[in-house]
Symmetry: C2
Subunit: 472 residues, 2 copies
């Protein structure tokens, strides 16, 4: 939807400043409240249209301590990450405001205009769709995304170029486009038209009007802090609990088979992961004592310790809680680690957070789609995702808990909380059933592995990884 | 002191593994306790001596989820940062273990051996001293630093090179040194001899012995978790409170003088900061309502919003509390921001934390030296530090608090806590007096600026910045 561009009126500057600061502090106070939000302001446009000046003026009117500005070096679209990924770390916490000069749109335009290998319109639109989906997830998670395009007609742009001191050409020229080249200008304008209609367009010709239009627009965005929907729509339809979860198979591997096979598979998995040009993400979920640690040990046994990263996911920190739920995973997956193993994962949202009430029904019910989109974008950008649920029976868990309590050097592994969690056993099974139902996708299916017998489980985990690496 | 290399004995592998895991979990449990610590393991050595293999073996014996490994690309020593700075973000939280393959020592050796511009012995030793000071600060702040050198004689190295498949030359070759060159080998060994004596040297010739020596050494380090000293030594000598703090001057700028001078100074400061090749760090301390926000606004008024970063320092997060106090500043100053402004700063340790009892006497008394070392290393690596204390009188603060309460759009700025802090006024003055006494150094002096009159204060702040930028 195109934003209503209201009848524009200049405001008294002092009044505008007072209102902005007021709104800024009100935003700050929403942190942790039911109307909490943060603001990302994406600033793009034609060179010399004055986006830098408008932000400068805005930062003078507001309290500059609570409006951060980032101007990253432009990046070209590459096969191995989404365009928004490098900027994920700048997503502000609730109550905060972040202006991004360099952002996923400037990178997209830059990539599309690249002389050597311009993007096709189809590719361009595909990237746009990916960004929109990401922005929708941001909005659902209390991050407002404000997109402003500073425009300038060809005529005025040329006049401004004429008036420029050549020594003043700045480092922030948009990807070194030639602003004297009419064809390039037209191409850029044509591409920009493909953006969604929720951009706010500001004509940069009149400087005073430009700065005020921008600031007033930000003001209206700051003032708009509605309460988040509290209740989920409709009734939740519980999926049926798979038999393998209720009664995991107890087949035991024969000891004489086990060792050589495990050894062979371990080497094979290491080789397969190492030689795969894609990144590999392996994640484990399952009840306590299901054997996640042991399975991980086998996966990494033949790897060099510098080749992989293990993330053990515990309760989020305060700074993570005030950002979109997936944020701590977006930022964890930005590194160059080719092989990432997660001991528990983003599925915490629909497992422990659902069962323990740490997230509201509206939040965990929304999470399935968010997680699917997230995984799809990873897969699309050359990542293999292997999702493993280790299924043990309630009796076997009890036996392992007791064995841990009886073994001096394993006693640390068992706490009161573990016993408490057991009481929620059936709730966890229900949550797991819904999770399989909604997130077992073609590109990232779940592998449910019976693990009452540790040896069989380890072998099956390795086989699942191999299967998925070769399946695609 | 050279570590005692005890009579070495091979242990049963299973036993070693059990003991390591046990010690690992004990370390984890120290988090937040009086014997809390974390472990950084620096791994360096001769190529093919087997440091990778030894760490791999260690990670098999321990629970790999709780032993992280980082192998960063080597960096050469540059003028603008200390060698440890790029690695500061990897400093583990209490209870954690981090192995660093790439680290400040590999970078130092790489820089020293650089064919084009090798470091002189004097430069080398200077870097070494800087690292030692840093490591001492880590140790004082509960981060144990374990340094292991994997050694290999020239003869064995050559034999191993002979046996190598040429296609197996790895990416982790140490800075592309030529390991067939005897002279280079000798130079490296000569340089390594200059290291301090707290390195643990492992001969890489015998593989089994190598792995066990390494693991047993880590085991002994893990087991050693003594309580931190609780009490400060000796009596604290309170510095005299400067007259300017007790009774800040109330001289008012004449309104007709003020505006043009402020404008001129604002432009001059912006120009000076921009044209200075060094980084600029400006920090503000002072009582609530002393005018920090207003002063910052004037400093940045003529800057492009992309040129500077403002850090507003509030209470630390949990993940920051479990690391050395200065950690959150080390990591904040790693960016390429040329101009950084701190609204409150690392001096919180000796101000609010001291007064409110958030840090123990032994911690805040130690902090003066830590802060001085930190600032010295910044100054040495081309950063100007401007430290400003805005001094207001108790009456003026009361007047400002009341004015805020009476102004609707400023009411948010004043809370119960602000009034409570006032009751500690004298304690804060004492803490400030000690801070000036111990941290006003030649390279980073304190500027105490009377700010009962806001206009005068803003002018004086700008003058102080100019003075310090030109003074050096």
């Amino acid at each position: 939807m195109r934003m209503e561009q209201p009848q524009f009126q200049l405001m008294d500057e002092d009044q505008l400043s007072v209102e902005l600061i007021d709104a800024q502090y009100n935003l700050k106070k929403t942190r942790g409240q039911k109307n909490a939000k943060s603001l990302v302001i994406l600033v793009n446009g034609i060179e010399l249209a004055g986006k830098g000046e408008a932000v400068k003026q805005l930062r003078e009117w507001v309290d500059p301590r609570y409006l951060r500005v980032k101007a990253d070096k432009p990046q070209l679209a590459g096969p191995k990450q989404t365009l928004w990924q490098p900027y994920a770390r700048f997503i502000p916490a609730e109550g905060q405001i972040m202006v991004l000069f360099g952002n996923w749109y400037s990178d997209l335009l830059g990539s599309a205009m690249q002389a050597e290998s311009p993007l096709s319109d189809a590719q361009f639109d595909e990237y746009l769709q990916e960004m929109q989906a990401f922005e929708q997830d941001l909005k659902n998670n209390h991050v407002d995304v404000i997109k402003v395009w500073f425009d300038l007609s060809w005529k005025v742009l040329q006049k401004r170029l004429d008036a420029m001191d050549p020594s003043e050409t700045h480092w922030h020229q948009l990807h070194g486009l030639d602003w004297r080249n009419r064809k390039e200008y037209d191409t850029l304008q044509r591409l920009r038209q493909r953006f969604t209609e929720d951009w706010f367009i500001i004509d940069g010709e009149d400087e005073q009007q430009r700065d005020q239009q921008f600031a007033q627009y930000i003001l209206s965005a700051l003032k708009h802090c509605p309460d988040h929907p509290a209740r989920a729509k409709g009734r939740w339809k519980q999926a049926k609990i798979p038999e393998q979860l209720k009664h995991p198979s107890k087949t035991q591997a024969q000891p004489e088979d086990y060792k050589p096979e495990l050894k062979k598979l371990t080497a094979k998995v290491a080789k397969a992961m190492r030689s795969d040009s894609r990144n590999v993400v392996i994640l484990f979920e399952g009840m306590d004592a299901a054997g996640k640690g042991g399975a991980i040990k086998r996966i990494v046994k033949k790897l060099d310790p510098r080749e992989y990263e293990i993330h053990t996911i515990a309760a989020p920190e305060r700074f993570e809680l005030s950002r979109p739920y997936l944020w701590r995973f977006w930022t964890k997956l930005q590194t160059d680690d080719d092989i990432c193993i997660f001991d528990r994962s983003w599925y915490g949202r629909v497992l422990v957070e659902r069962v323990e009430g740490f997230s509201s029904p509206v939040e965990w019910q929304r999470a399935y789609a968010e997680i699917n989109r997230f995984e799809q974008s990873l897969v699309k950008h050359q990542t293999v995702i292997v999702k493993i649920w280790l299924a043990i029976s309630k009796e076997e868990q009890a036996a392992r808990f007791k064995a841990r309590e009886d073994t001096p050097h394993k006693r640390f592994k068992i706490t009161e909380e573990d016993w408490r969690n057991r009481e929620r056993w059936d709730d966890y099974l229900k949550a797991a059933a819904d999770m399989f139902e909604h997130t077992s996708t073609e590109e990232a299916p779940w592998h449910i592995i019976a693990s009452d017998d540790k040896h069989t489980a380890r072998v099956e985990v390795l086989k699942a990884i191999l299967k998925q690496l070769q399946a695609e």
